[in-house]
Amino acid sequence: MSAALRDPRDRGGPAQPLLRVDRLTKHFPVRGGLLNRQVATVQAVDDVSFSVRKGETLGIVGESGCGKSTTARLLMRLIQPDAGEVVFDGDEVGHRQGISVSDMRRQMQMVFQDSYSSLNPRMTMAESIAYAPRMHGLGRREAYERAENLLSRVGLNPLQYARRYPHELSGGQRQRVNIARALALEPRLVILDEAVAALDKSVEAQVLNLLSDLKDSFSLTYLFISHDLNVVEYMSDRVMVMYLGRVVEAGPVESIYRRPRHPYTRALFASKPTLDPDRRTTEMPLTGDPPNPINPPSGCRFRTRCGFAMPVCAASLPPLDVPFEDAADDSHVVACHVPAAQLGHRTGVRHG
């Protein structure tokens, strides 16, 4: 982990988080009606705050639609946030005194889920990888040398693969190229948005190991987004759980996985099928319908499926129990009104 700190671009030393996200918010308007006016809002990402330490892997888990991918796109500024700030190594992104979006993009890159559509079908692998460095001013020869180096680093022989087209490669190979492409600008932070979700299990394992190797060799920091709990457990140092656009729980991976505190997190882990007869499911399964992201329930968004819901849950949104600014990096925080829920004392299902 200390390798990340030897980066010449490092500005704040080990204590400063590489990425600090504060109250990030994005609401999408839903249009309809006679004049296409806005009739509703999808609260895709709501008041999300977290930080990423240098050299760590922060995992983000949640069901589809919880806002993980939107968060990733907000960080890369592919979508403009409605509110909140993003601070990269001490510099606020988009701020005049801080760091510009394009400069940030040179230090933060992203790998997408669909390996095929992430690559221009008309460009060879080498061209795709060399594209960004060339656009940023690197000469042709150097850019292509860098592309070939990266190809071999990700396990693809450049003699064989540099001049191939996306349709000639398998999914796993293409995803390796996508990783190489993300590394072409020598970023410090790489966001992996469901990067292994579309791969077969055996290929997935190879790619995950590759990612771990690369993290060490290149002194990278990862933001690992996935809905696959096992993969996140394998890769992450810390984990953040999202539900309907909000953070419900966050903390070190062992703590989250062994002692989950939020009812949603516990239900999520309980739904993992396991072959171990000693680990039978004792948790109450998730009940109720998944709520509508357009009209989330008032107060705590999970309350309609929560067995511990209290009247207070409908009245106000629960904040993280330790405020974000005060949290030590290793603390295990949760956003829930009901202490009993966090300790696991059941009171029966109540739908409100």
Binding site: M76, L78, V101, S102, D103, R105, R106, Q109, M110, F112, D114, S117, S118, L119, N120, P121, R122, M123, T124, A126, E127, S128, A130, Y131, A132, M135, H136, R140, R141, Y144, E148, P158, L159, Q160, A162, R163, R164, Y165, H167, E168, N178, R181, L185
Partner: protein, 301 residues
């Protein structure tokens, strides 16, 4: 894309292990060469191009010189193998020279609409928002006219002549061109690799040039080619109505009109200009079909 093509040479070393797979455009070319219909049609088009542009090479007559005594001679007359028209001019000569204006009147409007319409469409598709909506709504007004009607309205109200007919047809073709380019660009814009390019911090112009254009120009060019076959018929139609080229110039549509009266006297001769229009239009149609299917092959075979 030519600088990227040069770059491929930088990457090559002694590579005897695996021959690089053919690039996309190369494979398109290979498929085209195997497509007999398209090849045949392209040959015919080249032949037509040859006899029109190289008219002095295939005929020695003057397209404007006629002799009253040689009026409306039938096909097979010695010296005039396709006969003569109503003022005694050799028909084969008139067809060859006429092809120049017919092809010009057909291809130039499509070219203009490709440049103007393509630009507007790509702009509307990539920028989206108010710009896009404004452009598309303006095009909708012109879409309200059936094409022939719009062309005739412009020519009829502005006056006849070759220039006006070219302008009229360009105006008729710009809206569909804008619509096609906008659709294709919008699709391309939402593809992941364009997002990835945006995420890598490159400028909009660079993204359009390297990622969007190469994926968008193909369908646009195919559409333009298919428009040519329509354009030939429309421009000849305008001349047929007297709204395009004026006599005594040679042009297929105009010839069709002036020879119309001759169907009672020399029917075979009267039908010939139309045959040229038909064959040329059909060839462009089939060629654009062939190019489209060559480009459209599912790449994951």
């Amino acid at each position: 894309m030519s600088d990227l093509a040069l770059d491929r040479q930088l990457v090559s070393r002694a590579d005897t292990q695996a021959a690089p797979a053919p690039g996309y455009w190369t494979s398109v070319g290979q498929r085209l060469l195997r497509d007999k219909t398209t090849m045949a049609v392209t040959l015919v088009l080249f032949a037509i191009l040859f006899i029109t542009l190289g008219a002095p090479l295939v005929t020695h007559y003057d397209p404007y010189a006629g002799s009253v005594m040689a009026r409306l001679k039938p096909i097979g007359t010695p010296g005039h193998w396709l006969g003569t028209d109503e003022t005694g001019r050799d028909l084969w000569t008139r067809l060859c020279y006429g092809g120049r204006l017919s092809l010009l009147a057909a291809i130039l409007p499509v070219t203009i609409s490709l440049i103007v319409g393509g630009f507007l469409g790509i702009l509307a598709g990539y920028a989206g928002g108010w710009t896009g909506t404004l452009i598309m709504r303006t095009m909708d007004v012109f879409y309200a006219f059936p094409s022939i009607l719009l062309a005739i309205a412009i020519c009829g109200l502005m006056g006849n002549g070759l220039a006006n007919s070219i302008i009229a047809l360009a105006v008729v073709f710009i809206p569909p061109m804008v619509r096609v380019s906008e659709t294709v660009t919008t699709q391309a814009r939402h593809l992941d690799f364009v997002e990835a390019a945006r995420a890598s911090g490159t400028t909009t112009l660079q993204i359009i040039r390297h990622h969007v254009l190469s994926n968008v120009l193909g369908p646009i060019m195919v559409y333009a080619t298919s428009l040519i076959s329509v354009s030939i018929i429309l421009s000849a139609g305008l001349s047929f109505l007297g709204l395009g080229v004026t006599p005594p110039q040679a042009e297929w549509g105009l010839m069709l009109n002036s020879l119309r009266q001759a169907i009672y006297v020399q029917p075979s001769v009267a039908a010939l200009p139309g045959l040229m229009i038909f064959v040329t239009s059909m060839c462009f149609n089939l060629m654009s079909d062939g190019v489209r299917s060559a480009m459209d092959v599912r790449l994951n075979k």
